[in-house]
Symmetry: C2
Subunit: 312 residues, 2 copies
Amino acid sequence: MSRAGRRITCITGGVGGAKLVLGLQQVLPPGNITAIVNTGDDFRHLGFWVSPDIDTLLYTLSGKSNVAQGWGREGESWAFMAALRELGGEDWFQLGDGDLALHVLRSLALASGKTLSAVTGGFARRWGIGVTVLPMSDDSIATVVNTEEGELPFQRYFVERRCEPRVSAIRFDGASRASPAPGVVEAIRGADMVLIAPSNPFLSVDPILAIPAIRTALEGRSAPVVAVSPLVGGRAVKGPTAKLMEELGISVHNDSIAAHYEGLVDGLLIDSGDGCNDEAIRIARTSTLMNSMADKARVARAAMQLAEELAT
Amino acid sequence: MSRAGRRITCITGGVGGAKLVLGLQQVLPPGNITAIVNTGDDFRHLGFWVSPDIDTLLYTLSGKSNVAQGWGREGESWAFMAALRELGGEDWFQLGDGDLALHVLRSLALASGKTLSAVTGGFARRWGIGVTVLPMSDDSIATVVNTEEGELPFQRYFVERRCEPRVSAIRFDGASRASPAPGVVEAIRGADMVLIAPSNPFLSVDPILAIPAIRTALEGRSAPVVAVSPLVGGRAVKGPTAKLMEELGISVHNDSIAAHYEGLVDGLLIDSGDGCNDEAIRIARTSTLMNSMADKARVARAAMQLAEELAT
């Protein structure tokens, strides 16, 4: 089978995963790509159901994302937030004027009984996105962070408190009873390779792996599974990965990433400057920073190459 | 008692009533004025609870209204509507980016069990509005228009269909079982005079009068009640009043307005160029077009003057 014919399933959080999927799109037709997206960050805010990682995928893949900012829409305006603030509304989580449309329509559809996966698929079709974007589950799962300040819902920790409180534990409420969204297990079982994006393993990937049927599907994989390490030069590219690992008493090294994914992945793609001593896992290297589109495509190709080697 | 000490209660729909209340504010301290506002136009849209007449009062009295447009906020932006349209959302009812804050916070507060009157009072305080703005009721009342195209909820008739379908009847679902909001009956009973704003009698004032306890309070009035006619030169200043009267087989004349309010009002303020042959009601005249602030103050003074004559 030609490389272009491969079906790839990518397990992903927000920004890092969206970059890897963009890279895959440079190599494969979008119809061959499925993204299984973390929804542990989802939360109800001002009456809306907000799905930050799904929205990052949707905005990125439709070319609407604010790349410099790292979240939300390009060219966004903020009149709603200004008016909300004036009325004393909660303003710690920024909702742009255009972005609101997504939250309003999603909330309306969910309230009418539609599933998150149906809603997400509808948005993707509207915006001409060829990649299949699947929430990990249509059930509600909430990432809760245990910190020195007490338990914090994910967005309170991540956005309001800017990841400042020290973390002692993370849990995913509802995950153990959750079912994967329709198509998720099939996308893992039917793929020629599965990639785990360089998203935060503890906050963004673990909620997905905490769903029993998803973990079982990965454990029983026939196709190779390759993770892309979120560490570059022993640090996280973006977000709180390294800080969090230190707080959890985990060495900030690819050995820890390999150990974390043990039994679930066959290969780990790490940055050219980094090492990994794990002998149970196949290692490959490339420069894993994904700034330009060429970077993204290179990382995607390197991950696919590693998976292909593992398959033979 | 000095004129400035008078307590005035104004029964009102949207734009015309907001203008009269602005005029009253030129004559009286705002704390002496209570507006009882139509909520028959209220409706659920995109998951929000929208209260158009209340919002017109709030925007007008806080100096935020778009006077040229006749509704919504001055300097409004429309990124939400553009994004909504792109996603296939319902776009027949315009919700500005800043305006959304009001609908989001109102809907959230109502969902948490607060009453519409509590929410409205909170907004008014936030914006430094001294007039007491009361919804006619905290119960849900829906104006339904029977037209040649079938029954239409008010906003579908008024906004989406631009009052084009011929009307054969109007009803106010829920009004007969509704209670007045807290303070409404007290504001009628305790006022030195009650004014009925030059809002549409059939669409904007009738829903208020359809609440049994409000009608009873007006029928049992001790203070004079004066209505300001919405007709100027035998036509309505704004909106569908004249067209609607014709469709309902009612002569477009102040005699009809006087007859419509019979038993509830003691005086009718009409435009200088118009007549009224009703002998059961005291008539006064002024130029009732309210463009400038001086116009509004003049109409307010003329209505108060008529009420004072009736009281002696």
